[in-house]
Every structure is written in structure tokens, then in C-alpha cells.
Amino acid sequence: MSGATLLKESGPKEVFCGLTSIVWLHRRMPDAFFLVVGSRTCAHLIQSAAGVMIFAEPRFGTAILEERDLAGLADAHDELNRVVKNLLARRPEIKTLFLVGSCPSEVIKIDLSRVAENLNIELKGQVTVLNYSGSGIETTFTQGEDGALKALIPLMPKSDQKKLLLVGTLANAVEDRLISIFKRLGIDNVESFPPRQSTELPSIGPETKVLLTQPYLTDTARELKNKGAEIIEAPFPLGVTGSTLWIQAAANSFGIDKSIVDSILNPLISRAKQALAPHVEKLSGKKLFLLPESQLEIPLARFLSNECGMEIVEIGTPYLNRDLMKAEIDLLPPECRIVEGQHVEKQLDRVRDSSPDLVVCGMGLANPLEAEGISTKWSIEMVFSPIHGIDQASDLAELFSRPLRRHDILKPKTLTSN
């Protein structure tokens, strides 16, 4: 590993729990439904995180535990059965139902896997019922996706075909683009996980080579490995370099000639660099502080420092998987400070002390920092925006240059913070 300093911090945190990932997962797999088994808090959280943005009836909901459910566990199981059946009667189009565990359901020990098992027997394949935990006592933010994918793995059929499997939710357009690039390289058999329909799971076997698209899929990667798949070691496809190395790593493991790879990627790279140039001009030399939220912080910092010339004050990450992140950390400038975990107050003190030009943070912290005159960028935008791949590098950079441009445009005198 490079010389980056790795520190741990503990204290009060300010991050979403794993339930939040439902907000993008339910859009990825429109035939699935996510039923949180939890409290009014859990219901309120996903509602607030999703905003009132969704006009259609959402494909997620909460079975809210009430006083009497706490009294007897047997009843809670029966009640959940009843709720699920009501839901399925109302929404016959559901093909996969995720029962999502929460803090309360875990603390009172509702056995969701048993409920799922019983329901699967009863429903006879009409609907597949799965379970995972999105609780805040076990998971943060993006780890919810890790849990959901892990729950799907046992259902993946076996295959001996040689194939490339892209793992992690991407925007559809970005995914299509990446697949078409792999095809041009001669990798024809490319599938993705999660699939766009929950029932069309890719098959897996010893000839499956896995390329992770997102850095937060620790458990999923481990389970895929247990199924015999090979995890290709690479940095993540953010920015020109990251994406290039990521594609090259796949090409390598498929034994594709370097000259072919270069001839296909080089034009993309030079075009992307051109598009990146105005943003680099804006970002270069600016100080960046990343607060922990999505686990995308390390690849983002790597892109913003190496390709955009930003000066990295601190990289916070809620959890650091040293294996998956090794290729990334190797690329970081040696003087980088990575802080795993959080003490939100002390971290904010450090933010103020270092007076950065831009802070990447969770939604609750953004406006208070803006009010202190510090430009911010919401972490959650990174999991919603199409930012992966060589062609997207300038769009990714723009997410960071825009707040700085805005800061310049608005006359400071006309703004007063409250």
C-alpha cells in the first residue's frame, strides 16, 4: 500500500442507515418490492430520503411494529405474514419481495429468514421472498445494497460459461455504454448484477469474472467468490484513469491484446481529457474535504486529486475494506489522510480549521456548512448520477466544479447566511 495514513475514529456519527439504498434499488428492479420490517422512524427515513420525488405508488413500504407486536414474537411473525399477503394481493405484479430488517426488528429478534422461508413454501414460487438487513446498528447507507445483492446470490443459476459480470447498481445508460465498450474489445458475454428484472438473475460459476462497479460490495464480493467466481482486482471506474484501469483489468483477465485495448480506449481517453479540461481549471489547487457517507469517498478523492488537481485535506469513509480498496489506495497521493468511522463534531471542527473550498457530505450537514460559507456537494448524488466510465469523467468533475462556479457567480455581499 502507498503511504496514505489510515486512522480510525469513533463517536457520534451522521450517516444514513442501509435502508436508504432501497431508494435506488427499487428503481433498478421495478418488479421487486422492498418491505421494511421496522418502526415509524424507518418509514419516515426512507420517505424523507426519497423525498416526495416519487409520483407513482412507491415500490417500497414499511410494516410498522406496534406495541402489541413487541409483546409476543409469535404474533409478530403472524402479523408480518398477514401484512405480506395483503401487500401481494394489492400488488400482484411483484416478483421478488425483500423483507428488510431494521434496528427494531433485529433487537426484538424477528427471524426474517424464517418468515421468508415459510412464505416461499406457501407462495410456491409465485413470488420469491428474500431477506437482508438494512439496519442502522449493522449497516450504513450503501451497505444496504450489499445486503440486498448478497440475498440474491443463492438464487443465481450455475453456469460454466466464460463471462464478465458487472456487479453493483449503475445508471442504465452508463451500463449500456460500458457493455458496448466491452463488446468492442471482444468481451461479448457481459451481464450485470443486480439485473434490471429481479427474476432475470445472471448465472455464475468458475468461469465468471467479476468486475465490481461500486466499492461498497464487500459481502457480495465474498459470496460471489464462494460461488467460484473470480474477482478482478482493479480501481473503480470513476474518472478517466480509474475507468481505464478498470476496463484494462477486465481485458487482461480475458487475455485481450493490449494493442487492441489501447486502440479502442485511447480515442475515448483523449476526448474525455479534453472535456475534463475546463473543470480541471476550476478545481485545480482547491481544497477538498470528504466526510464519510457512501464509501465512494476514496475513489472520488483519487480522481479529484490525480486528475483534477485538487488538494485533499481528509478522506472520511464510514467503513474501509482494505482488500477491495487496495488498488485505489495505491493510486492516492502518499500524504493522504483516510479516516475510517466518525466523530461528527470533531470532524466538523477539522473542516472549519482547514477551511476547504469544497466539502462532500451527507444531506443533513450541507446547508449548515453552506451557511458558514463552505461550498458542499451531497454524497448521495454520487449514487444517483451516471458518473461511471471514461465518458462520464467530465460529468463527474462537473458535479464538483458547479458549486465552486456558483460560489463565484453569486455576489457574496448579496447573500447573508442565517
Binding site: F16, T20, T41, Q47, D69, G136, M363, L365, A366, N367
Partner: protein
């Protein structure tokens, strides 16, 4: 277990956060897992507040559960007191912490701080946000004032000063509270009445201590302040007003009530002039089109009740549905609905509300953001009158709901989603004009342009989806569709629905040109 897709209210500790964040020099230690910190964004994003709520979350994790979570709680409490130096400390727990029973309140009390500590017990599995807010406010007031006695209290007359009142109940994430307070302060000033303390919004613990200096409490938002007002009346002899000054009539009644309680002469001007334009605008000939417009009302108790009164008495609407998600307010909403010949809809299920809207097919919905979405799906205009809050409900401009100016704002907000009177006439006269072909739109932003197609599509999908017995649905003939297409697009959805309803009732399998006119005659009759 209750299945929800959307909820109107958060858990009770969100209510407590609303109180804590509304106040100054107070800190709230909330025993809760890390995910519960999402609540901060309600304040910093929806309210666009420039500072974080004064809340320290313990953010315990599964691995802490085996160990000593009580020590963890104490550590956070100590750190919070050291760092924030509050004048009063609130300590409570969220739903998950309630299950592990650490009793953070008693832990805090045993730590020897020399500030008042308010221990909150908010049952997360049976109560909700407004209840939590009300209970928290009550506990703060009680804790801070419990030792005050009221024996030597003098009236304003005896002390030869202007009368003083407290305005109780406004909070952050309450519907237009900030502006309401300004408006009521201004109004009272005109009548020679001073405002002593506003709470919880903007009040510090020291301000709470000054509550007994007032002659009367004004219970502005009963959801939050009623239990506190009752306690203050019982224990400190401070009477309170119960009329909420929403609408012209209610504002007049409020002033009357307040003057009575203060034993003060009402200046003649109160009855003669009202300073709201609502009355004249409502009387103007343009407003004739509002006569008997069918409205559906749903929201928190206070705003729904007020809306029903304004709608019937001040705008001449016909209320076809009235309800609230607040069970605590059901007691008041039920008789109000009954007086209108309706049965109150008391529910927490927005789908039930949507069904009720569909059922009554109103011409205007006055609801929450959720009803706005439902109304949009159904192609019905809607104005938002109540929490839950959305960033749209925190406008930059001054827009109170209470008092005279509030009535003006309400007139505009409710009437704008509708077509204005003159417009409606012109459209009747010119509906065959080429200007009114589909897609062309003058200045009716809310219904016009691209959106219109969506609305119509929305209506179609709703119709094809909603009915379980599809076979029962009448079929439109070519002629029927053609006639329907001549109807201006902004009312077409409604006509389509009415005609289909009519056809079903009349047992028609097909809808042709004649069915359309039959239906029209039926609904006009």
C-alpha cells in the same frame, strides 16, 4: 403491524426534535442508532435552516449492544453538555433505544449537572410526531415552571399596564408558523396587546421562565400547545384562548374571545372593518364561479377545521369531504364534519384519502403534499394547507396563514389552482376556437403545456388500473371519444370520469355522444 407506503407523521422523537430545534440554548441527547440522524435533513433541507439541530445522537451499533450501552449514553451526555453548554438538557430515546431500556433520562439525572434535565418518555410504538412535540413542550414547561407559584399575580388592570399574552405552539416544520407569529404579533399590537413570550419557536429556557408574566395564553397550534395551556391554566391560573385565527371569521372570533378573557372592551373597529381583502374579493363578481365549488379537505386537525370554515363561510364552496390524519384531533373534526352533513375521514393511510377523493370527485382538493400528488394523478387542482412539510411549503416570501394577511394568502393560494371566473366564462364562449386546441396554453401554468398530457394520461391510467372489475367498465365509442375531445383539455379528465361513473350507474356498456350529454345533464341536475 401496520403497512404504510407514506406516512403523514414521523415518530414522536421527531416531534421532540421540532421543539428542541425551535428553541434556543437547549440541547437534546437522543439515544438512537446512526440512521436516525437523517432527521437533521428535515430541518436543514426542508426548512433550509443554516444550522444543525441541537441534537447529539448516541449512534449505537450492534456491537455496542453486548457491552455497556449505559456507559456509552453517559459519555455522549457528558460530551454534549461540555461542548454545547446548554441551559436545559433534554434526554430521550428513539424507537430502537426504547427497546434496550437504558433509561437515558435517569442516567442523565444521576450525573450531577447543575442544569434542569428534562427526561422524555415518548412511546415510539404507539404515538406519533405531533404527540411527541406536544409532550416535549409540556415537559419542558412543567420542568422549568413547576416551582413557580401564582399567588401574588396581578392583572394588567391592577398594574395599569397594557395586557400581555403568550403565543404558544409555533414550531419549526409547522405550517407557515414563522409568518403566522409575525402576523399575530402585528395584529395584537394594533389592539394594544403586547406579546410576552413566543414559544417554543425562538424561546430560550429563560423565556419559558417568563411565561407566568402574561395575562393570557394564546393557543395558536393546539396540536402542540393545548396540553401545555391546560397545565398552565390549572397550575398557574393563566387562562387561554381556543379560537385559532385562521380565516376572516375566525380572526374576528379570536379577537373577541381574547378581549373577553382579558376583560377588555373590544374596539368597535373589530366588527366594522376587517382588514382582509378576502371578503371583498369573495364578493366581487369574478368570484361567482366559486359558488358551490366542491372541495375536499384533509390535513392536520387545526388547518383542516379552519379550511372547512373558510371554504363554506367565506368562499361559498361546498365541502364534500373533511378529514384529518391526527387521531388526537378527531374529537374536534368529527362534529365539524357532521355539521356539514359529512362523516369525518380519520385515517393515516393516504391511499384511503385518495380513494375518498376519487369517490367524491371534487373540483378542488385542499390537502397535504400527499393529497397534492393524489390530486395530480386524478387531474384535480389542489392547494396545500397543512403539514407534513415539503420544501415548497417554506416559501421565501412572507406568506402567513393567520390573521388578515393570512386570509389574503389563503384566498390566493386556494383560488389560483382553479381557473379564474372571467377565464372560465371566456373558455365557455370560445371553447371551439383554434386557440383552445390541445396543447395550446395561455398562462395557466399549473395545468398547461406539457403537464396537461401527463394529467390526461394520469387520469387514463388511474381509470384503467383502479377498478378491480374491469369488465364492468363502459367502453367509449368512436363518436363518444370525438365528442369528448371537443371539451377543453383541462376539464376533460373530469368529464371523462363523470361520464364513466354515470354510464356505470345507468348500466350503459358503451359511451357514445348521447351518453356524454346524458351525463352532463345528470350532473348539472
Amino acid at each position: 403491524m401496520e403497512l404504510t407506503l407514506w406516512t403523514y407523521e414521523g415518530p414522536p422523537h421527531i416531534g421532540a426534535m421540532r421543539i428542541a430545534t425551535s428553541m434556543k440554548k437547549l440541547h437534546y441527547v437522543l439515544h438512537a442508532p446512526q440512521g436516525d440522524t437523517y432527521a437533521d435533513l428535515l430541518f436543514t433541507m426542508i426548512e433550509r435552516r443554516g444550522s444543525r439541530p441541537p441534537v447529539t445522537y448516541t449512534t449505537f451499533q450492534a456491537r455496542d449492544l453486548g457491552g455497556d450501552t449505559a456507559e456509552l449514553v453517559k459519555g455522549h451526555i457528558k460530551e454534549a453538555v461540555d461542548r454545547f453548554k446548554p441551559e436545559t438538557l433534554l434526554v430521550g430515546e428513539s424507537c430502537t433505544a426504547e427497546l434496550i431500556q437504558d433509561q437515558p433520562g435517569s442516567l442523565a439525572k444521576g450525573m450531577g449537572f447543575d442544569i434542569p434535565i428534562v427526561s422524555l418518555e415518548l412511546p415510539a410504538y404507539s404515538k406519533k410526531e405531533n404527540w411527541g412535540g406536544s409532550e416535549t413542550f409540556y415537559q419542558i414547561v412543567r420542568t422549568l415552571l413547576k416551582d413557580q407559584s401564582n399567588e401574588s399575580k396581578h392583572t394588567w388592570q391592577e398594574e395599569k399596564r397594557r395586557p400581555r399574552v403568550n403565543l404558544l405552539g409555533p414550531t419549526l416544520l409547522g405550517f407557515r408558523c414563522r409568518d403566522d407569529v409575525l402576523e399575530i404579533q402585528k395584529l395584537l399590537g394594533q389592539y394594544g396587546i403586547d406579546v410576552n413570550v413566543v414559544a417554543p419557536l425562538g424561546a430560550s429556557p429563560a423565556d419559558i421562565m417568563r411565561i407566568p408574566n402574561a395575562d393570557v395564553n394564546v393557543c395558536l397550534y393546539p396540536e402542540i400547545a393545548e396540553s401545555t395551556c391546560i397545565w398552565l391554566e390549572r397550575n398557574l391560573n393563566i387562562p387561554f384562548t381556543t379560537t385559532v385565527p385562521l380565516g376572516v371569521g375566525a380572526t374576528q372570533d379570536f379577537l373577541k374571545e381574547l378581549h373577553e378573557v382579558l376583560e377588555m372592551e373590544i374596539p368597535q373597529s373589530v366588527n366594522e372593518s376587517n382588514n382582509s381583502k378576502l371578503t371583498w374579493y369573495s364578493n366581487s363578481v369574478d368570484s361567482n364561479y366559486l359558488t358551490g365549488k366542491r372541495v375536499f379537505i384533509f390535513g392536520d386537525g387545526t388547518h383542516a377545521l379552519a379550511a372547512a370554515r373558510i371554504a363554506t363561510e367565506e368562499l361559498g364552496f361546498k365541502v364534500v369531504g373533511l378529514g384529518t390524519y391526527s387521531r388526537e384531533m378527531a374529537r374536534k373534526v368529527r362534529p365539524a364534519a357532521k355539521a356539514l352533513g359529512l362523516e369525518a375521514l380519520i385515517t393515516n393511510d393516504y391511499l384511503e384519502v385518495e380513494d375518498a377523493i376519487k369517490e367524491t370527485s371534487p373540483e378542488l382538493v385542499l390537502g397535504t403534499q400527499m393529497e397534492r400528488h393524489s390530486a395530480k394523478r386524478l387531474g384535480i387542482p389542489c392547494a396545500v394547507i397543512s403539514t407534513p412539510m415539503h420544501v415548497q411549503d417554506v416559501p421565501a416570501r412572507y406568506s402567513p396563514q393567520m390573521g388578515w394577511e393570512g386570509a389574503n394568502v389563503i384566498f390566493d393560494d386556494w383560488v389560483h389552482p382553479l381557473m379564474m371566473g372571467l377565464e372560465e366564462h371566456l373558455i365557455g364562449m370560445f371553447k371551439h376556437d383554434f386557440e383552445f386546441v390541445d396543447g395550446h396554453q395561455s398562462h395557466l401554468g399549473h395545468l398547461g403545456g406539457k403537464g396537461t398530457e401527463n394529467i390526461n394520461q394520469g387520469v387514463k391510467t388511474t381509470i384503467s388500473n383502479d377498478s378491480t372489475n374491469t369488465s364492468n367498465n363502459p367502453i367509449w365509442t368512436h363518436e363518444g371519444e370525438r365528442e369528448l375531445s371537443k371539451i377543453p383539455f383541462f376539464v376533460r379528465g373530469k368529464v371523462r370520469r363523470n361520464t364513466e361513473n354515470y354510464a356505470r350507474q345507468a348500466g350503459c356498456r358503451e359511451i357514445n355522444e348521447e351518453t356524454l350529454y346524458d351525463a352532463k345533464a345528470h350532473y348539472k341536475a
